[in-house]
Structures are given as C-alpha cells and as structure tokens.
Symmetry: C2
Subunit: 320 residues, 2 copies
C-alpha cells in the first residue's frame, strides 16, 4: 500500500495540460505497489495511471523502463503504454518527482492462483521474451549473481536474529551458487519480478503485465525461475507440481527450452530464491519500526531455497 | 491509507451479479480513508466505489448512514449514492464484511485550502443541514459531550507521556465544557467529520461530500465548529480569520445562525477540538508499533483547543 507523494489539483491540471487526455475528473491514490506512488486518474477521456517515481527507482533507468513498455506494447504484449505529451515525451516532473502517465489496463491480479493461471502466465512470459528480442537497449540486472554477496554482507550480522543459523546457511548457499551458476544461456529482456500482483487477468485470460521497474537483460530462464517461486508454492510452503507443469508447458508452447536451459533450472531457481530472500532480509532488518509498509517475510524464501537445493533433477519442476 | 480486506475476482463477480452495473473490468484499493476498505471498481458502465465496512463502523448504524446518503442525494446534495441491487437492497456481504456499492463522485479534495474553498464549504454545509431536516431516522452522536469524559478516562494515564501536563489541562477543559456546553440549540443531521479530505472540488466548485460514517443527530452549529477547526487553521497553528469569515458568510448565505447559535460558537469549537484531541490521543496511545496506519498528531488539536479557550467573543470567528 503506497502513496508517498501528494499531488495537488493545480499541479495535476498543469501536468495534464501537456497531454491530449482531457481534464482531470478525479485522482485517487492506489493502495498497491511498494516502490512508487500510483494514482488512478479519471479524465473526460477515461481512466489513466499516473506514476510518480520514488527514490528506489534510479532516474537513469527510467528511459529503459518506459522505452521497454513502449516497445512491448507495440509488439502486442498487454503491458502499460506510456502516454506521450504533445512534445513527444513520456517522462516529465510532477510534485518534485519523475512522473509518467500510463494507459490504464483492465483486469485484476489473481488472489487465488490456479493451474490455469500458471498456464496462461507461462505463455505470456514466453511471448514477452520473444517480443523483447529486438529491443535495442540493455540494462544490467542490479540484483543478479554478482550483487547477492554484497547485499548479504549488508545484512549478515542481523540474519541470525531473523532465524537462528540463517547467516551460515545463506553463506553456504551463496558459495554453491557462485560455483555452479551458469555463465552462458539464452539472454534477453526479462521482467524479473513477475509476481501475481503484477499480472492482471480478465475473464480467465491475461489482460496485463505490469510493473517493469526491475526489468533488465539476463538469462530468459531466470525469469521462469522467478515465476516458479512466486506462483507454484502454496501458502504453507508446499511445492505444487501441477502448477509448475502448467507453467512450463505454457511457456514451452510458445518458446521451447534448450537442454542447457532445462538443466540449469534448479540452480536458477535457487538463485531466484536467494535474490528475494536477500532483498526481503535487507528490508526486514532495515525497515524502521512504525513504517507505513510492512516488510515481507524473508523466511518464505528460505523454504523455497531449501526446496530447490534438494532438487537433483530438473524434471522435479514438471519438465518432460 | 487503507485496504484491510482482500476481495477475490470471483467474489467480486458474484457480488456485482446482484446489480445492474455490468461486469468488473478492474478493482483497485484506494489509499484513502482509515475506517473502511475502499475500492475503485470499473465496469462496462463506468467507475464505482465499493466499500467494505471494517470493525470501527457498527453494523447497526449502516442503515442510518446509507439511508442518509440516499436521502441527501435525492435532495441534490452531491454525496455518494448507495446503489441498489436487483433485490432493492444496497447493503450486503462481501469477503465476510458488510459491503455497499456506491456511485462514483468526481473531484479531488483540496490539498491547499483557500478562502474560496471555505466559502463553498460553508454554503454546502448549510444545504446539507437543510436537506437533512426531513430525514426520518436519528442517530445519537457517540462522540458527543457525554462520551468525552469516558474516552478521556481510557487514555488519561498516558496523556502526560504525549505532552507534559496534558492530563490536567484536559481535565480542566472538560470540566469547563461540562459546565458550559449548551443544552438546546437547533438540532438535526450533521456530518460531524467534514475535513478537507471528505470534500471534493471540481473546477473550484464542490462536487462531493463523502464519508458520512460519523454522521449523527446533534447541534447543527457543532458541525460548523468542526469545520472551523479542520479548515481555518494554518499548518503552523495560526488561526486564519479570513477563511473563518468566508466559512461563516458562506454558511449564513444559505442558513442564518440564531443569536444563541452565534453565542455558543466558542464553546462548541472547544467541544469540537476536544472531541478530535481525545480520539487522536486514544489512537496515539493504542496504536501498536509498526501499524499500517500512522495515528494523527493529537497535539494539533491541543493548540486549537487553547485558541478557542482564549476566545471571549464569537466575533473572533468572523461573525458580524
């Protein structure tokens, strides 16, 4: 739940005057997203999303993110299209923050995940990877393999307070990953954060993929591993093989995995688990008491990491 | 900022099937309001507000609140109209909570209050009081004079931790109010919580009065006193006489005040100040650390109480 910056009606009117979208009829902060401030603006011409970029998003990355959304939307990926002002620009300032006006996408993110959702997600992810192939810009994954060790170092001293033995367990898992993580696999634009609240469905079909603010250039199969973690575990930690199978088959129906990609899946899934475990741990130990946003439980990802470390054979993920 | 209850797409679809409003295209939690969970739902037929009533609103009061909104809307007061289902009912259950679908009101609440806003507010408040005269139901003000002493008793022990000497100062102020509060004044339906975030403006005119969940039957002039406190002080505590004058003249243009009402204004304003001071103090000492909603500063209302206790003559509020 997040609105960090207030927008006055006068500032909003002056902002919208730079676009051909009509005048504001209302502007309501949306209680979703933890990185930016998002508003649902209605105008004479319909609903729009207004995003104010807060400090966790680097300004220098915004042209990549907005350019990528523009590119993917032009390739029929149902993702938010940045709206250009009369000057051709989609990025400007509002209330002292970088800000963009974005087309409204219908749909709701699924609160109860079904195997059908996983199937549609898999296909949409493969289409996204395919559509990103001719996107000209690149962005290093700033939460990739090389970044996990420094991130761990910033919170290792507090890890055992969160869970006894966690620091040593993470150190071992990181050492293994540093030794075994693949060097070369098919690479391209990945979403890198495709959790259920970033995927809208309407009448059982995907109507929107949102929140591209972790998108980067990395192994395509790593994106699939992020989705395995985010979509295929039940709330009590059980791995749901049916969902994983449907995610894999949905993906492979649109883009097949090479034998090297399949073989790498267990170690990529461990990497994806440790990436979210580390950022959650960092937030957990660095969120001041009384903060408006409650940090997510890092231990959920410790259980996922342990599961993937127990997997010997990629067929455990429903690959055939 | 508040969404306390999650609504699944399936539950929402089944809920909307009971109305003639089309099917849901999206549903986004709104980061406003601290008492209930509010969602902006878009359907084929346009935007709607979905409110889930959380535990701070008594279920037994909901027919009064919804009936009042219905009544006022039928008298052309720009307030949220509860939408009736095919069964004629506007109140039903969703996600285990009482829930109502409410017409969408355009406009934004003013972040920077001007004297013009106060003028329009005054007139709208008088119209609301006038339109409420033939509303048949009544509701006792559960945060009125008789309730302040018990509320104070629940947080008196912690008051001095918030501000040294606060307990004694409040005790004195309460004793004075108990002795001097009027017994009889023109009475009717009041909003009782008409803060700027409950008043929408569009193109400098009022487009909506919202959040009737403190509405009750009480002295009409007490409602004006609540507005004096909420609209006529600057953020550093200065009383803005120009704004108060415009509020008063805007009100009196539509409904004049009797000599008794004018004479009572200083003590009503003290009462209105102590009501918000006490509920904020209660929330301040009872909000657990790390809560999602940050309690509002009670001391803002201590300064307002002190101001009103220094007022001898109601002309200090801009009355002529």
């Amino acid at each position: 739940m997040a609105v960090y910056t207030e927008v006055t009606d006068g500032d909003l009117d002056r902002f919208l005057e730079q676009y051909d979208v009509g005048r504001a009829l209302s502007c309501k902060g949306i209680a979703e997203g933890v990185e930016n401030s998002n508003f649902l603006v209605t105008t004479d011409t319909g609903p729009l999303i207004l995003t104010l970029y807060e400090k966790r998003v680097a300004r220098g990355d915004l042209p990549f993110f907005l350019g990528l959304m523009d590119h993917l939307a032009s390739r029929d990926i149902p993702c938010p299209t940045p709206i250009r002002g009369r000057d051709g620009e989609s990025l400007r300032e509002l209330a002292g923050r970088p800000a963009a006006l974005i087309a409204f996408l219908p749909g709701m993110w699924p609160r109860r995940i079904t195997a059908h959702h996983c199937d549609r997600l898999g296909t949409a992810l493969a289409h996204l990877h395919d559509a990103g192939r001719d996107f000209a810009m690149t962005r290093r994954n700033t939460l990739g393999l090389a970044d996990w060790r420094p991130l761990f170092a910033q919170c290792a001293d507090h890890a055992d307070r969160v869970h006894p033995g966690l620091a040593e367990e993470l150190d071992t898992a990181l050492r293994d990953l540093e030794a075994r993580f693949p060097d070369t696999l098919p690479t391209g634009v990945i979403h890198a954060d495709l959790f259920p609240d970033n995927v809208f469905f309407l009448r059982d079909e995907i109507s929107g993929l949102i929140d591209f603010y972790f998108a980067c250039t990395d192994f395509l199969t790593y994106d699939l591993a992020v989705c395995v973690n985010a979509w295929c575990f039940e709330s009590r930690g059980e791995f749901n093989l049916t969902k994983a199978r449907r995610l894999m088959s949905g993906y492979r129906a649109a883009r097949d995995l090479s034998p090297a990609e399949m073989a790498a899946l267990p170690v990529l899934a461990q990497g994806a688990a440790i990436r979210f475990l580390l950022t959650r741990l960092y937030d957990w130990v660095n969120t001041p008491e009384g903060a408006l946003v409650r940090p997510k439980d890092p231990l959920e990802y410790l259980h996922k990491l342990r599961f993937h470390r127990s997997v010997e054979d990629p067929r455990a993920y429903g690959l055939e």
